[in-house]
Amino acid sequence: MLAILLSVIQLLFLAILAPALSWFIKKMKAASQNRVGPSLIQVYSDLLKLFRKNMVISETASWIFHAMPFVLFVSTFAAASMLPVLGIRSLFGFTGDVILFVYLLALGRFFLALAALDTGTTFGGMGSSREMTLSSLAEPALLLAFFSLGFCAHTLSLEGIVSYFASGSPTQMLFFTSLAFGALLIVTIAESGRIPVDNPATHLELTMVHEAMILEYSGRYLALIEWSHQIKQLVFLTLLSDLFFPWGIAGSWDPLAFGLSLVLYLAKVFFLAFVIGWIEIHSAKLRLFRVPDLLAVAFVLAILSLLGQLMIGRGV
């Protein structure tokens, strides 16, 4: 009972922490641009403001338009519930859940693309087609990276993979799993719509990917979408930290271990956010037709990671 309660708490913690990561990247970018940047409260009050605002909804919008924010939020939340955050136990972990994890995210994306087409505006369709093109390349890379890690850990449960890496010595997972790390990092950038794949701060409709799909949304729906997007970003960062820096994750519900895990977890995700922010500051956005090349790199890294382990053996 306590375990379930704590799992729920860590899930909520994830949801509440998510905007802070976005704030951190914004703050980093601001520092690089001679700006002060927003305060931490700003990101939360922005969400709150949107939740309070009225919505303007197109007359041609069907139920898909109304359902999408909820589907997106719930599916992202459900995906997050499979993830060990502070403790090694996740709320809904079971064998094979990595596949469900990938397709829960795909479900959200599917509805996002549909809803963008729903109102029949120009930019929505453009955004959907781009998002689908990119995700059709990002998804296999993500799955393969999971398979590679699962092969190493003899299980296809996220919990299992994390506990396998957490218990093993840091050196055993070097080379080939680090290839999978590269793959996952690229997928993380693509999935969270960051430079060099997408520009979250642009006002240029014609260049948008993610933003183009949600142009028609306002008020509460927009808040929900934004929040889901931030949670998704944190889910990916958590995934990276779980899989590649699992040390210190609490194995039991002992308060001391939990506290240590909390500190380490924060350090890990903020470090990863720093990496993403650093990439964002140092590069321009790729040409849209170059993005598939980047995602192909992720795919190749994932496949090398898997093949390398198959050929040379486990635990190299």
């Binding site: 120009t122 781009r130 037709f289 170059r290």
Partner: protein, 525 residues
């Protein structure tokens, strides 16, 4: 120069009614409207002149007909040749030059819309300045059109050119955009992401500036000119006052000429800074963009310190300039410019090293030299496509004659070239400001203001940051302004964008657009 007009007479004989020298460098050729095409062909093909703009005016009061002025530039002799013809009110038609000279396309359509004359043989006679809600039979540039006249609105549809085929989509963008920019409509026909055709539709901000200038005092006109295009305020003002000065035969003291150069180059600097920053921002390299915007801000503060206005409004006045740069200020400005140059240097070095940025700008939005030439491209856009053309050197005004500078030309015609041209021009501007300050003689700031000569016309021109900008002013019998034609560089360059985007992809359009950085307001007037 005698040879030119003698040759012209020999070649064309009776087609030319009269040749006369107008004010200063302007030569006039009077001709019947039927021989316009022959004369234009001759001027362009035999003498290598270049068409600049077409201005139509309502002169029915004086000679019961409309007058068309075709202005050509004759670079070799630093002259302007103006072919003048009359169009009778009873037969409001004139032969279109567009099939021979594609760049007159918009010019002739503008005359059609504003003056109600018909260009016979124009391949695309659709409306340009006025949209379909403007009723038939209302022509603002005619003298009988009152400025406060109520215009009934009608309903009609504009026919866009359609591209048809399987999987071809249209993307309408604008006139309302997400960013804080001016209104303009872009219609893309795409197959997937590739652009097959772009059709632009502008003139949403047509304010009738030319019409409202009629009958104004020279000072008032100058005020209006400063507001044509916000960031090119000074360029328009200088072009306008040059025309007025030449009409009033006002002597501009040498010190004022040098000061004009200093301020014009200051304007070019802050424009180019924000253009290059805009390119960096559009490829999401915000680090570089914000560094350049910081430099721009420093420049604007310098302007404020020197002239009291950040965008250099009210700097130029009839006969000279208002603010002086004292010896102390001069030294200080030279030091400041040096600091800014170092700052700019560092940022640009950094930009060239960012591979992801260079990858975006290379080969993007290529404008072939032939296209730029045929469509009459001007300014940095033309210079990036290999056209060596700069009014400051070709038709020197202010004190540019006495200063040495290079005109950077690149041949690739892509976004990178346009960026390079602007970067090099920034360096030239630093140098020009320095040299102009050093060479500036002592003296008064402003010449004596005189009345404008009656029944005359004159041309004022400036190489603005966006390209060549012309103001053409005509006075009536009482010396009042009866026609004010503004030829802004954006009007010349907008048609080029339809070609620049071909074979590019939709998400690269904002970058291409930014690299040309054309003004909507300057275009629409």
């Amino acid at each position: 120069m005698k040879p030119v007009f003698q040759k012209l007479k020999e070649k064309l004989g009776s087609a030319i009614l009269e040749v006369s020298e107008g004010t200063a460098k302007e030569w006039r050729v009077f001709a019947a409207k039927d021989s316009i095409l022959r004369i234009a062909e001759c001027l362009i093909e035999v003498f290598g002149m270049r068409f600049l703009f077409l201005s139509g005016s309502d002169t029915r009061k004086e000679n019961k007909s409309f007058t068309l002025h075709y202005v050509f530039s004759y670079v070799h002799q630093d002259q302007f040749w103006i072919v003048q013809t009359r169009v009778e009110e009873k037969d409001p038609q004139f032969p279109s030059l567009a099939p021979f000279l594609p760049q007159v396309n918009w010019h002739e359509r503008e005359v059609q819309d504003l003056l109600g004359l018909v260009a016979v043989g124009h391949p695309d006679p659709r409306r340009l300045v006025f949209h379909e809600d403007w009723p038939q039979g209302f022509f603002p540039l005619r003298k009988d059109f009152g400025p406060h006249q109520k215009i009934p609105r009608t309903a009609a549809l504009y026919a866009f050119e359609r591209v048809e085929g399987e999987g071809i989509f249209e993307i309408p963008v604008g006139p309302v955009h997400a960013g804080i920019i001016e209104p303009g409509h872009f219609r893309f026909s795409v197959a997937g992401e590739g652009i097959l055709k772009l059709e632009i539709r502008h003139f949403y901000t047509h304010k009738g500036t030319e019409k409202s200038g009629e009958g104004k005092t020279p000072e008032h006109l100058l005020c209006l000119a400063e507001r044509i295009s916000g960031d090119n305020s000074l360029a328009h003002a200088v072009a306008c006052t040059q025309a007025l000065e030449s009409l009033g035969q006002i002597e501009v003291p040498s010190r004022a000429q040098f000061l004009r150069v200093v301020f014009l180059e200051m304007e070019r600097l802050h424009n180019h800074m924000s253009d290059i920053a805009g390119i960096a921002l559009d490829v999401a390299f915000s680090f570089g963009a914000s560094q350049l915007m910081r430099v721009k801000e420093t420049l604007l503060s310098l302007n404020e310190e020197l002239a009291g206005t950040r965008l250099l409004r009210s700097v130029v006045t009839l006969g000279g300039v208002r603010p002086d740069i004292s010896e102390v200020k001069k030294e200080w400005l030279i030091q400041e410019i040096k600091k800014i140059k170092d700052d700019f240097d560092k940022t640009i070095q950094l930009l060239w090293q960012v591979d992801s940025l260079m990858d975006r700008v290379k080969t993007t939005g290529t404008i072939m030299k032939e296209v730029a030439e045929v469509l009459g491209g001007v300014g940095p856009v033309a210079r990036a496509s290999g056209i060596d053309r700069d009014l400051r050197r070709d038709h020197p005004y202010a004190a540019y004659k006495d200063l040495f500078f290079r005109v950077p030309v690149f041949i690739e015609g892509d976004v990178e070239s346009r960026m390079k041209v602007k970067v090099q021009e920034v360096y030239e501007s630093f140098k020009l400001i320095h040299d102009a300050l050093q060479a500036m003689p002592q003296g008064s700031l402003c010449g004596a203001v005189k009345l404008l000569a009656p029944s005359q016309s004159a041309l004022g021109y400036v190489e603005s940051p966006r390209g060549e900008c012309f103001h053409w002013i005509v006075t009536d019998k009482s010396g009042m302004i009866s026609r004010w034609k503004i030829q802004s560089p954006s009007f010349s360059n907008w048609p080029l964008i339809e070609y620049a985007v071909l074979e590019n992809i939709v998400p690269d359009f904002p970058l291409i657009n930014k690299s040309m950085n054309l003004s909507y307001s300057g275009n629409d007037r």
